[in-house]
Symmetry: C2
């Protein structure tokens, strides 16, 4: 990151500093004058190329300490939660994690469907995600799983993700996503392609079968419900065409199934 | 991912299947005829819209099983390992993990410097990374940390990363990086911006000070060595100009330091 001053202004650079505490504010509790400290500084302030620096004690190091395991509560936003993948994903997130699960849908039928799956919140992805989250009183989310139309939601995804948040996606964005937009918040991006394990015969290839078994057991135990929503009858060319046309309409809820020959 | 057949050819689609085993190969050990199974199929084969499918048993689910914790050995490639960040990062990776650590450098002096830090391997980033890794007998790496010139190395990074590999970066690529190239291998991308915690006052902001303390203790215990390589004297405008010019030359090894006023 380059710190470019506005025209006519100047900026003091220097982001790696070692020094001694010469004064502390009245609310400082972790340091006293004379302590030997080091820090990277704060890019919103003047840097360490000046003799004295004002630095927030929370980013300053002095004594050894074990690393923190602090974890913030997980707030997961699932974009396109009413589709085939989203319907199962939502249930798995609710059953296997303590996350607050927020799903998006836009049509009345798909919103009703998600409410039936007991999601914590359902918001409308035809409106700006940040506006919808504000409506339900959620400031930001720690995780986003974007299942569809990631390109059209990208700016809002970056906006609603908390610093150090995580974005997972599975679709094929039609326009390139600018990863520089993820840098300021140190957001990470995760692809999940269901064919990676089988294409590359990865060492953990068997985990894919085991995951299916785990889900199978959950279904048998009634912990998640089938998302079967439309049954298009026998597997033949005509029914396949109908099923694909329906999925491509963007109106599919849950999983579209064909069975038998 | 869309499976588009070549002109004049056809492709059987359908990637979510539930059915019964009607025959098994002679090497199949986990299933028998009559087992009820489900799977996502393999995109390199015909899909489940045909009545009978041939599927590798490793991606098929049947019985409940706990999830695997299998972890492959970590092979970490650090691009630009001889610089200020890379010199400390390399030592931390060697001291705190069991990873095989491979660093890149291009000049004779920087390669010597890295050998002095006891990296497992030093390769030349002025040549294709895949070619250099092949030279030392390493097929692929599980992690890449790219500290500089990520854009010019990007194609090779994607090539040498193993499926489900991880790419971390901190620089400002001058050309957009196409994230679609990461999808086939389900590679994830991680930004680390050293100012995220202080800019957003994150809940784990204090961890930045604690990390510095942990490193401080390691230095005192002799577990990592200072990477001080150039001392440019007092902190004043003239010396700052010299130091910045040197860093921007791309020839800096270790950390460039100024001290006192």
């Amino acid at each position: 990151m380059r710190a470019q001053p506005s025209a006519g202004e100047y900026k003091v650079l220097g982001w790696d500093a070692v020094g001694e505490v010469s004064a502390i504010g009245e609310n400082v509790s972790g340091f006293k004058v004379g302590d030997k400290v080091w820090y990277a500084g704060d890019i919103t302030r003047a840097g360490a190329n000046s003799e004295y620096h004002l630095v927030d004690e929370r980013i300053v190091g002095k004594q050894p300490a074990s690393l923190s395991n602090m974890h913030a509560a997980v707030r997961l936003l699932i974009i396109g939660a009413a589709g085939g993948v989203g319907s199962i994903l939502s249930q798995l997130a609710l059953a296997l994690t303590n996350a607050t699960v927020i799903g998006t849908a836009s049509r009345k039928e798909s919103k009703e469907w998600l409410k039936g799956l007991a999601l914590d919140y359902v918001i409308d992805h035809s409106k700006p995600l940040s506006q919808e989250l504000a409506r339900i009183g959620i400031e930001d989310v720690t995780h986003v799983i974007s299942l569809t139309h990631t390109d059209s939601h990208y700016a809002e995804i970056v906006k609603v993700l908390a610093p150090q948040g995580q974005l997972a996606l599975i679709d094929d964005p039609k326009i390139p996503l600018d990863i520089m937009q993820l840098k300021l918040k140190s957001i990470s991006l995760h692809w999940e392609l269901m064919f990676t394990k089988s294409m590359f015969k990865t060492a953990d290839m068997h985990s894919q079968g085991q995951l299916l078994n785990a889900v199978s057991a959950m279904v048998d135990q009634g912990k998640i419900v089938s998302t079967l929503a439309e049954h298009y009858g026998l597997i033949n060319a005509e029914n396949l065409k109908k099923a694909h046309a329906f999925i491509e309409s963007g109106k599919a809820i849950g999983k579209v199934v064909l069975a038998g020959f």
